[in-house]
């Protein structure tokens, strides 16, 4: 990660750019600053004159590919004639693409990058309106010993597989398990989580009934119950960075939401804590593997998607409807806006929930989306973090971002997968656990070993990832 950051922050200039910087410093960059025009979508272009369009000095062309502005003499050349310019004027090697505000070396015939130039461009984007406010809203068999401790079946108490599947995942969440010591007693006969059910129904009275339930809803309910129970003992210490109950210490992360005015580009940012991320399934993206095979178009039965596509969808800029115009502080009126989510802080354990439930209020019906969702065993969350997303919004310009340095790494390993099979109202939950590189299937009381391919091919509903360092540590024991 260190190397990647240093390449980004200090890309190696070509000899011509290095030479230009030595001779002219930042004067060329500053001279074009007045002509920079940024649009709300993060693109910046150079507009020298309001009334005349720029033309190539040599051919007077204005539509042949790109146009480049020389940083020394401000003459314009088209892509065919940049070489001519640098040959006729010695040392005039560095130019700027007028449409895109990108540096161009005429001798290398290539786009080049300089943090100082990006800084000039970015400061222009922010110039003119108030800095975005950060509104922080107030997230045994015969050889029993060979199996990892803590592996134990859970009896189904009557349609409680939704509970058992989530419990299995929670029990094996690294750094969460200390709270459930009975499972680690060494006893291998199935455990009946009756007391747990009793406590839970006391806490979540509205969910207390012998009927079909949703595992994700149960998961949220359990974390909330733990928070409430512990919250009374430990003060939610704002200085400490939020609640310190075990549920939040393990699962809590922070989401960032940016709402951008499409007229002026002013962005308002809010932060919200979360204990998991619910993802819509994105089916517009197909991997090359799928395209090569026969079914390319998604239909009811054979649609498919990938977890990365869902995460892309989650962090994609979304145009808010015209009925959702938000008040822009810069324009001082309601404007059409774009919204974009990103992850400000990753939790220790990342729980991803796949929204397989579709509810149509129009038809008053609900259905389950059975599409296959590919998910990786190793997940790098870097592209979905706020610095990556925001930087990308500004054309990936090199500039400092508040939370570039983070203690938490963004590499994760899967350790539990809750799967659902069957129909909406009558299905079955099963959890797959990865312990010491072996996958186990936890089907209520039944614990069996399975090959990792079974897990890869399963219909995932909730996927639990843990930070790679924690995962490796847990597996050393």
């Amino acid at each position: 990660m260190a190397t990647r950051n240093s390449v980004f922050a200090n890309p190696k200039p070509c000899e011509h750019l290095a030479d230009y910087k030595l001779r002219h410093g930042l004067s060329g960059y500053k001279s074009i600053q007045k002509w920079l025009k940024a649009n709300p979508y993060g693109n910046t272009s150079i507009k020298m004159c309001e009334t005349k369009i720029p033309r190539c000095l040599f051919c007077s062309g204005y539509h042949q590919g790109r146009l480049f502005l020389c940083l020394i003499c401000s003459s314009v050349s088209c892509s065919d004639h940049t070489l001519l310019h640098t040959q006729s004027e010695y040392g005039h090697d560095i130019a700027v693409d007028i449409e895109r505000s990108e540096l161009y070396c005429c001798l290398c015939s290539d786009q080049v990058y300089d943090p100082d130039f990006d800084k000039v461009v970015v400061s222009k984007i922010f110039y003119g309106y108030a800095k975005s406010k950060l509104l922080v809203s107030m997230s045994d068999r015969r050889a029993k010993s060979c199996y990892p401790l803590g592996l134990r079946g859970l009896n189904n108490l009557g349609s409680t597989c939704f509970m058992n599947s989530v419990l299995q995942a929670l029990l094996h969440a690294p750094s969460f398990w200390n709270y459930f010591l009975t499972v680690y007693s060494g006893n291998r006969t199935p455990y009946s989580p009756a007391q747990f059910l009793y406590s839970w129904w006391h806490h979540s009275a509205n969910l207390a009934s012998y009927e079909q339930q949703d595992a994700h809803e149960f998961f949220i309910s359990v974390l909330d119950g733990i928070h409430e129970r512990e919250g009374k003992e430990r003060n939610s210490n704002k200085d400490n960075g939020g609640c310190q109950c075990i549920a939040h210490r393990v699962f809590s992360g922070m989401l960032r939401s940016d709402v951008t005015c499409t007229a002026c580009g002013f962005t308002s940012t809010t932060y919200d804590p979360c204990v998991d991320i619910s993802l819509n399934m994105d089916t517009t993206n197909f991997s090359s593997v799928d395209v090569a095979s026969k079914s390319v178009r998604p239909n009811e039965d054979t649609g498919r998607s990938t977890l990365l596509a869902c995460l892309d969808l989650f962090t994609r800029p979304e145009r808010l409807g015209s009925d959702q115009k938000l008040y822009c502080q810069n324009c001082q009126e309601r404007r059409d806006s774009m919204k974009q989510m990103s992850i400000k802080r990753l939790p220790l354990v990342l729980s991803l929930h796949i929204k397989r439930f579709e509810h149509s209020s129009l038809r008053r019906s609900s259905r389950k989306i059975d599409w296959f969702l590919q998910f990786p065993f190793s997940l790098d969350m870097t592209p979905y973090l706020s610095p990556s997303i925001v930087r990308n919004r500004f054309g990936n310009r090199i500039f400092g971002f508040e939370s570039d340095e983070s203690d938490i790494s963004s590499e994760f390993e899967v350790f539990a997968v809750v799967t659902h099979s069957g129909m909406l109202d009558s299905g079955h939950y099963v959890t797959y656990l990865r312990l010491q590189d072996q996958w186990y299937k936890c089907d209520d009381a039944w614990i069996t070993e399975v090959d990792e391919r079974i897990v890869r091919a399963a219909q995932c509903y909730m996927i639990f990832y843990v930070q790679k360092m924690l995962y490796c540590k847990a597996n050393e024991d």
Binding site: R4, F8, P11, G65, Q111, D140, R141, Y147, L151, G153, N155, N156, L157, G158, T160, R188, S192, A194, Q195, W201, A205, A208, S209, Y210, E211, Q212, Q213, D214, I220, S221, D224, L255, P273, V275, D276, S278, R356, F357, F372, Q374, D380, P383, S388, R391, N396, H420, M423, L424, H428, Y429, D443, D444, A445, W446, I447, V450, E452, R453, R456, A457
Partner: protein, 183 residues
């Protein structure tokens, strides 16, 4: 529009008007293509691109897994019942451990504990006196409102995405003993 432009075979056959619009479309396309190229060039040069090798490897493993699992010779998930689990145990369809209910003290069979507890705690349809079941249950299951308000601000669950568990009857589906042989 792109298809229409691409399908025009011969520039000579076009009217000047069509020629001009084709020309402009061509320029627009060129500009967009350069936009994309410029963005990708920056991402690549600044080391911001994603690790496509790892991603493709995961996709490949996943595709391979699906093929293996779907193969008729594959006996793991589709056919065969659970015989023994990894600890050499078998389990009945209905869990038969017996323990005392913590609410009423009576000994209850584990597999029937939930329905018993429901009545015992005075929850559930039959036990409830008020006829508010249908509205609250439906609301809790499908609405965005109540589950979120119960758990916010620490939950981002919208509450509309629920899949039910179902039968605990294991004889409905058939399983092997769990360990998979290589195909």
């Amino acid at each position: 529009m792109l298809e229409r432009f691409m399908s025009v075979p011969n520039e000579d056959n076009m009217s000047p008007h069509t020629q001009l619009s084709s020309h402009f479309l061509g320029e627009l396309l060129d500009s967009i293509i350069v936009d994309v190229a410029s963005e990708c060039h920056r991402i690549a040069k600044l080391g911001l691109d994603r690790n496509s090798e790892e991603e493709e490897e995961e996709l490949r493993l996943s595709a391979q897994a699906r093929v293996t699992v779907a193969a008729p010779s594959h006996s793991c998930e589709t056919n065969g019942k659970y015989v023994v689990d990894i600890f050499g145990q078998t389990h009945p369809t209905v869990a038969n451990e017996v323990f005392d209910c913590m609410n009423c003290g009576r000994p209850i069979v584990a597999g029937r504990f939930a329905p018993h507890l429901e009545k015992c705690m005075g929850k559930g349809r039959k036990a409830r006196v008020k006829a508010t079941r249908s509205s609250t249950a439906a609301q809790n299951r499908y609405s965005r409102g109540s589950p979120v308000s119960a758990y916010s601000p620490y939950s981002n669950s919208t509450g509309t995405h629920k899949l039910s568990n179902g039968t605990y009857n294991h004889t409905v589906e058939e399983y092997s003993n769990g360990t998979c042989e290589e195909p």
